[in-house]
């Protein structure tokens, strides 16, 4: 196969990985700070896509939608954390898994009740439509935009975590919640904020993915399990891990499609199992 085709396959894999990166960062954040495996992450991804699609429908501005979706999801995340998840902290992993799983059911079915089983139209905005000549091939402009958006998001999250006071509290809370509280930080705010941020990222991922893959109620189910794979391989609670693992898994899967399509889906779970057996904390995890 020609070098151009290989390059194209690579770039394609990176773009697929980019969406996973955004969603996985959110999942990793929630796990790192709250120690919760958020089974509702896929449902929030879907909600983000819906909200963005509606926002574009009402205002006609894609850029506004990209802001509206994650912000509203953040608010929703805080509500869910205060109202449900936050009450279950003492009870251990099991209950948060179950609660978020139940939230997932409710959200997905709720969406179907409110807006039917067929999702809204979400077209690529005119400014981003069309193709760009990358030299080795033509490539859709929108997908490059997704790559850019991901890079900016990663930078944004990094800056928030490492350069703002809130981020400092979040990191401290993940390392030692008791001590952080003893030092005077309102831990409940931090936890709510972290969950909200994680959910916002899921929503952003959905908003970006919407024009690519279509918006429909079940769109979050596959990405939920896929983001688990990425977070496990990258390391729970690690920002760098989510980025590296997301892109890596995207590229690996892309090339598996090319060379051994039979294994294209299986390879994800083999990698996940292998990581859990050999190095459970993942590439960059701190557990």
């Amino acid at each position: 196969m020609s070098a151009q085709a290989l390059l194209l396959q690579l770039v394609t894999g990176v773009v697929v990985g980019a969406i996973w990166v955004i969603v996985a960062i959110g999942l990793s954040l929630i796990f790192g700070i709250l120690r919760i495996v958020n089974f509702a992450h896929g449902a929030f991804y879907m909600l983000g896509a819906y909200l963005a699609a509606f926002a574009v429908g009402w205002t006609g501005h894609f850029w506004l939608a990209l802001l509206v979706a994650p912000l509203s999801m953040a608010a929703l995340g805080v509500l869910v954390e205060r109202g449900l998840v936050g009450r279950l902290y003492g009870r251990g992993l099991v209950y948060s898994v179950l609660a978020t799983y139940a939230v997932s059911l409710v959200v997905i079915e709720g969406v179907k009740i409110l807006w039917g089983t067929v999702g809204p139209q979400f077209r690529v905005p005119a400014e981003l439509a069309g193709m760009v000549n990358l030299g080795f091939s033509f490539f859709p402009k929108y997908r490059l935009f997704v790559l850019l958006a991901t890079a900016l998001t990663v930078l944004g999250v990094w800056w928030w975590l490492y350069r703002t006071p809130m981020g400092l509290f979040v990191r401290a809370a993940s390392q030692d919640p008791l001590m952080t509280q003893a030092l005077g930080v309102d831990i409940s705010r931090v936890l709510a904020g972290a969950f909200g941020a994680g959910v916002a990222l899921a929503g952003l991922g959905g908003a970006l993915a919407g024009p690519l893959r279509g918006v429909f109620p079940e769109m979050g189910l596959d990405i939920l399990v896929e983001s688990f794979v990425v977070v496990v391989i990258g390391g729970m609670g690690s920002l760098l891990g989510a980025v590296v693992a997301g892109l890596l898994v995207g590229v690996v899967q892309s090339f598996t499609f090319l060379w051994a399509p039979v294994f294209a889906h299986v390879v994800l779970f083999l990698l996940m199992i292998a990581t859990l057996l050999v190095r459970p904390q993942g590439l960059f995890g701190t557990e």
Binding site: M1, S2, Q4, A5, L8, Q9, T12, G13, V15, V16, K112, G116, T117, V118, Q121, M131, S137, F138, F139, P140, Y142, R143, L212, R213, G214, F216, P217, E218, M219, D222, Q253, S254, F257, L258, P261, A264, H265
Partner: protein, 408 residues
């Protein structure tokens, strides 16, 4: 811990009461008269084909309402019991069981997904109920799936893709074909038909790739296809899968030197994809509303449907309408709901409910009908004027023989 007799009795009573609640509630909720003629209609109201399923339900409803307005069938009202099969064969089997055992339906009809219809057919067979399938499938008219009570109103992939492939490959755009198909019965069977025709006309198959049903992101498959530089790209998938794969293929510039062909483009998918994607794409169809210009029956059907549902009927709406009508007319003619007698009455019958004449072939109960070949218009004429009719194929010419299908 000791359980006293009193506590034990209390538990039994409480348990019994708990058990009784669902039963009582159910009998209250379910108020249908038992003398009605009931048709069970599973359809994928949830999932990737939900749009088209809605059309189907509407078509079936139209047929049932027509009969009821005329006084019912054999003087009895007709009931259509729609169930969501969630695009899953498991669920389809469970719904079929529920329809037969609880609702005691006389017949089954509908189903959109190839995988689900085979499961529903299994259940219908075992209970000796007629099932009029409106889903594309090769297997359902062949042993071992076929049964004396199985009827197939929809086209088969064999017929559809044979007609389409012959047209595309003889048209002259080129002979190098790449096939991307959804990895379940529908995609596999259309691909098999294409392979046969490719062999027939001496074309070349430069690549064949399966993808899981419901794939949303085709970016991983497309670079390989671009590199192979095919003359024809065949997308053997359905519903939202068509929209996504075609859209993404066009985004990568594949339409510039490649003819894209899709076996069936349901109306809902066509509307969602739009002319930028579907312009110049060829497909086949059992029905395109614009045939009303040449076939009066179509005009009649279009008018009835749009008056009732405020939109133009799709091909699957037409299948549902026609299939249910045929069933009810047979019941009317034989004067009974007995499966064997009704089935015998349907065999061989010629009919035309929404287009030109079709008939049920005796050996496999396949509805032999006309196939229309369509090409997407780059500039549509109005919101529904999406396709040009480029050819008409007589079903008789593309249907395999009874022997070829395994019937004696």
């Amino acid at each position: 811990m000791r359980i006293t007799r009193r506590e034990f009795l209390r538990e039994v009573v409480a348990g019994g009461a708990a058990l009784a609640i669902p039963g009582t509630l159910r009998s209250i909720a379910h108020a249908a008269p038992r003398e009605s003629i009931r048709i069970g209609f599973p359809a994928p109201l949830t999932g990737a084909f939900a749009d088209e399923a809605n059309y189907m339900v509407q078509g079936a409803t139209l047929a049932v309402e027509e009969f009821n307005r005329a006084g019912g069938v054999l003087g009895r009202p007709v009931e259509l019991l729609v169930r969501d099969d969630r695009l899953s064969p498991d669920e389809g089997a469970r719904r079929a069981l529920e329809l037969i055992e609880r609702e005691r339906v006389h017949f089954l009809a509908g189903v959109l997904s190839a995988a689900v219809q085979l499961a529903v057919n299994e259940v219908a067979k075992r209970h000796r109920r007629i099932f009029v399938s409106t889903s594309q499938s090769d297997k359902i008219v062949m042993p071992p799936d076929f049964s004396p009570w199985t009827f197939h109103e929809a086209l088969t992939p064999w017929m559809t893709s044979t007609a389409l492939a012959r047209y595309v490959l003889r048209e002259g755009r080129g002979k190098r074909v790449y096939i991307l198909y959804a990895d379940y019965a529908y995609g596999q069977e259309h691909t098999a038909a294409w392979r046969r025709v490719i062999g027939e006309v001496g074309a070349t198959l430069v690549g064949v790739d399966p993808h899981p049903l419901g794939t949303t992101d085709y970016s991983a498959y497309l670079p390989k296809i671009v590199a192979a530089r095919p003359d024809v790209l065949v997308l053997n998938n359905f519903g939202r899968d068509i929209v996504n794969s075609a859209k993404q293929a066009v985004e990568l510039g594949l339409k510039q030197r490649t003819q894209i062909a899709v076996p069936i483009i349901p109306t809902a998918a066509a509307l969602e994809a739009g002319p930028e994607v579907l312009g110049d794409v060829v497909c086949a169809s059992s029905y395109w509303w614009e045939i009303q210009e040449r076939i009066p029956k179509a005009k009649e059907f279009n008018t009835k449907f749009s008056r009732r549902f405020n939109r133009v009927p799709s091909d699957y709406a037409a299948y549902a309408y026609s299939g249910v009508r045929e069933l009810l007319e047979a019941v009317q003619r034989t004067g009974t709901t007995d499966s064997d007698r009704v089935a015998k009455a349907m065999e061989g019958r010629r009919y035309a409910h929404y287009k030109d004449t079709q008939y049920w072939r005796a050996c496999d109960h396949q509805s032999v009908q006309t196939i229309f070949l369509l090409r997407g218009r780059e500039r549509p004429r109005g919101p529904y004027g999406l396709f040009d009719i480029v050819a008409t194929v007589d079903g008789e010419r593309v249907i395999p023989s009874c022997e070829a299908l395994g019937h004696r």
